[in-house]
Amino acid sequence: MAQLNEGDQIPGLKVTPDKYLPHRYAGASGDFNPIHIDPEFAKAVGLPNTILHGLYMMGLTARAATEAAGGDPRSLKRLSVQFRGMGAPETEIEVTGTVKAVEDGKATIDVVAAQGDNQTIRNAEAEVQL
């Protein structure tokens, strides 16, 4: 059983998605929106280049929260996120989190996913069973 206390930093994670990660995520998820896989299309709609799927980064925050609770996928009960900055491939993503509350065997964790100063996921809250 994982031990989490109010104020703890969770271990978090760091990952650098390679150039073709959005293609693999598109295949795995079924989301083939061309803004994620086609640079010409992305630029034509005003983006600097292809961008990461928001739900891929949410997947990383789910992974960090689940691992903080001991790794059993059943422990993640709720995850709520806001997508703000756009994520870019070939740039390191860091997921960090702070335990906000522990009550009745459940912990609430505030989570952020960022590439440098660009917070791609913020105001994220995970609820895990301990």
Binding site: G30, L60, A62, G71, D72, P73, F83
Partner: protein
């Protein structure tokens, strides 16, 4: 121009998805999950699962197909060129395992205007073959300049 809100409360036809072991492996690998309960049948059973278990966020794979017709419905009338996925919430219940048949129904919860932006909030509810709720999703799309 006022935002169209007549689609609030509308529900779209359900979709059914059968969860498969290799699809779970594909998803788990992409997000870097190496917990054997997602990859190995024996490890999953030893941990108390019926079969290889999907990572929680695998729910996008089986619930998104129900959402497609809702998002593209002319009655909703979202301008895709100016749309971003603004927020997302999932609340999980019974785990989804390989072999499960999951049925998802999408509905429109809210449409409103704030600071010149349109907010379109959809809900998906997914249940398994036993009628147990697997996940409930709240999908918020934001359209600039409505």
């Amino acid at each position: 121009m006022a935002i169209k809100t007549e689609a609030v409360g509308k529900e779209w036809p359900a979709t059914t998805y059968e969860v498969g072991k290799e699809k779970i492996r594909e998803y788990a690998t992409v997000v870097g999950l190496d917990n054997p309960v997602h990859l190995d049948r024996e490890a999953a059973k030893a941990a108390g699962y019926r079969d290889v278990v999907a990572p929680p966020m695998f729910c996008v794979v089986y619930s998104a197909p129900a959402l497609g017709p809702a998002m593209f419905d002319p009655e909703v009338g979202m301008n895709f060129a100016a749309m971003v996925h603004g927020g997302q919430e999932f609340v999980w219940g019974e785990p989804a395992c390989s072999g499960d048949e999951i049925t998802t129904t999408a509905s429109c919860q809210e449409i409103y205007e704030k600071d010149g932006k349109g907010f379109y909030v959809f809900e998906t509810v997914s249940v398994n073959q036993d009628g147990d709720e697997v996940v409930r999703g709240t999908w918020t799309n934001i359209v600039r300049g409505v």
